[in-house]
């Protein structure tokens, strides 16, 4: 009995969370008059397939390419800078490390919209705005690096210390033990966190909007704005655009799920 109640509650919550997604796909398929129909329809009476048209008309290929470039750049930079840092924070235990970790956590609190003005001024002065996509990569890296470090640190903490010590006794150097033992064992956590960082950067808006002036270099999130007219909004177009943009992300998430669950460190101890 209790199980069924919990199941129903779970299903209701899932439905609530997934409803906007459903509404997005639904609106993308509806005709322009059906969108505003009251009472609303929950299944399109006359499905419209505008995807190819929107892709071509709005130059989505270019926007998504820019988003992809920035997301890949951020992910590479963050993993290169953050992995070592996360490892050290997981292994060295003293007051200074606690302070460092706290400072890192605090940095996460600052929102992009607050940081964008000082970043703009600074980047402008050192001439970084001439290469705006790199500017966005740097700004976004600074923004998501703390998150990456905190999440990765948790993965490294889970890898038993004895494994590293065993490698040291076996004749490995500290760096060797890091690359051959720690890194392969923290691989899942690093992978999952990197994908998270990638997706966050793929959907970045504030920095791209502020630091990128040229439309050819603009990202997909900013590109969505072109649907917003002064008098009317093309809701069907917006949702079609959004559907094209979001679907690959959803697929990546679904593929990733299994990775998160599987435990690679099983069998190390005992």
């Amino acid at each position: 009995m209790k199980r069924y109640v919990l199941l129903v509650i779970g299903l209701m919550m899932t439905a609530t969370y997934l409803f906007p997604l459903y509404w997005m796909y639904l609106t993308a398929l509806k005709g322009s008059s059906e969108i505003f129909q009251y009472p609303p329809t929950f299944w399109p009476s006359d499905p419209q397939w505008n995807f190819l048209e929107i892709w071509k008309n709005r130059d989505m290929g270019r926007y998504i390419w820019n988003s992809l470039l920035i997301a890949i750049g951020v992910t590479i930079l963050v993993t290169m800078l953050g992995t070592g840092c996360a490892y050290v924070l997981s292994r060295v235990r003293n007051v200074w490390m606690e302070i460092a970790l706290f400072a890192i956590l605090m940095m996460q609190v600052l929102p992009s919209s607050l940081m964008v003005t000082p970043i703009f001024v600074m980047f402008n002065q050192i001439g970084l705005l001439a290469s705006p996509r790199i500017a966005v990569i740097l700004a976004q890296t600074a923004k998501v690096l703390p998150l990456y470090i905190v999440l990765c640190r948790a993965t490294f903490v889970q890898v038993p210390r004895e494994l590293e010590e065993a490698a040291l006794v076996d004749g490995s150097s500290r760096i060797g033990a890091f690359f051959r033992i720690m890194l392969p064992l923290a691989r899942n956590g690093i992978l999952v966190t990197s994908v998270l960082i990638f997706l966050q950067s793929f959907g970045e808006y504030v920095y791209a909007r502020s630091l990128i002036a040229k439309n050819e270099l603009q990202t997909a999130t900013v590109g969505l704005q072109t649907f917003m007219g002064p008098n009317a909004n093309d809701w069907n177009g917006i949702m079609t655009y959004a559907a094209i943009y979001v679907t690959p992300i959803l697929i990546v998430f679904m593929l990733l799920q299994r990775r998160i669950v599987s435990g690679l460190t099983a069998g190390a101890l005992k």
């Binding site: 004895e162 065993a166 006794v169 004749g171 060797g176 069998g267 190390a268």
Partner: protein, 354 residues
């Protein structure tokens, strides 16, 4: 020639003095057990030998060379961890030969030595398995294999059997001992189980709170414990202690019971002591040169071959061990016979053997 020499070793963790003036010399080919209650510093000492802990002062020499400040890989020691610490992403073969691959030994030498070690430990058919597909005992063997494949100067064992079930533990005890003899290795073995220490080692080091309480051969520690702690720690069931005071005429008077014990050692009158009695030196039957006190049977534990009788001597618990089946029942009033030749005496203040 000593294979390992530890001179006045000290180790501080901040304000905590983990090892105090530790001195041990270990001969080539000997099997040394470090034993003591948890937190006594035995694991710290082992990790110091491995190079996983820094020392505060003192010297450690392996094969005549000081290893202070050297990282583990320059010490040529192999270690078996309590948790085994097998690399979960490598199969058994690669777990075992990781050290040789790091040293870039020739391929056929690596293959040959891995094969020999695997045969020695009965792992030949498991070489391509991952650690997670092994049982506890098999993992323990792989951890051993990883150590023996290297042919190191010293083997270090950190409670390697504590995760195994009782039967396997007894089996592995003799396996490790046999392996040690076959390889003519020098081994240092940490355990909290004094039975393991007694049965396996040539030389036992008893530690407490970072201090070596006593070291020597197992029977030396059993027969001539230097203080009350060692006396109580070595031997199972543990030695019984009864408080007593020396009288003026060369006799001891039990505090509880005003029973006088004839005594031929020179203890000043009025000195307070503990009388230590091994369970097997107590009997419910009269023997030669013994004395008797009254006691109540409060419990019987029988293992079939041995019987342990728990007695109360004026509310002090005393355990008696004898071979065979129980000779008394719970609640019986009995006469307890104590063999006077095998008594131990410890000063009540210093706890040193009197």
């Amino acid at each position: 020639m000593f294979q390992i020499e530890i001179d006045n070793l000290n180790k501080h963790y901040g304000g905590f003095h983990a090892l105090r003036d530790v001195n041990i010399s270990i001969k080539q080919g000997s099997f040394v057990a470090l034993v003591g209650p948890s937190g006594c510093g035995k694991s710290t000492l082992l990790r110091t030998l491995a190079g996983l802990e820094k020392t505060s002062s003192g010297d450690v020499r392996i094969a005549g060379q000081s290893v202070i400040g050297k990282p583990p890989r320059e010490r040529d020691v192999a270690m078996v961890f309590q948790s085994y610490a097998l690399y979960p992403h490598m199969d058994v073969e690669h777990n075992m030969n990781y050290s040789m691959r790091l040293k870039r030994r020739p391929k056929d030498e690596i293959a040959e030595r891995t094969r020999t070690a695997a045969e020695t430990l009965g792992l030949s058919r498991l070489l391509d398995r991952l650690p997670k597909a092994l049982s506890g005992g098999q993992r323990q063997r792989v951890a051993m294999g990883r150590a023996i494949v290297r042919n190191p100067k010293v083997f270090l064992f950190d409670e390697p059997l504590s995760n195994l079930d009782a039967a396997l533990r007894v089996h592995m005890r003799s396996e490790i001992r046999k392996l040690h003899e076959r390889l003519n290795a020098t081994s240092v073995y940490v355990t909290h189980d004094q039975v393991e220490a007694m049965t396996m080692a040539d030389h036992v080091v008893v530690m407490r709170a970072g201090i070596i309480e006593q070291q020597g051969s197992p029977l030396e520690l059993y027969d001539r414990p230097a203080n009350k702690f060692v006396a109580g720690f070595i031997g199972s069931p543990a030695m019984n202690f009864l408080p007593a005071t020396a009288a003026d005429n060369g006799a001891l008077v039990l505090d509880s019971d005003s029973v006088r014990i004839g005594f031929n050692r020179d203890i000043a009158a009025g000195r307070q002591v503990w009388i230590g009695m091994r369970p097997e030196h107590l009997s419910l039957k009269p023997g030669v040169n013994d004395m008797t006190i009254g006691a109540t049977v409060t419990g019987i534990e029988s293992t079939g071959s041995m019987t342990f009788v728990v007695l109360a001597v004026a509310s002090q618990p005393v355990v008696l061990a004898h071979a065979g089946r129980p000779e008394a029942c719970k609640g019986d009033q009995v006469r307890l016979h104590i063999a006077l030749d095998n008594l131990h005496f410890f000063d009540r203040e210093t706890e040193l053997a009197a």
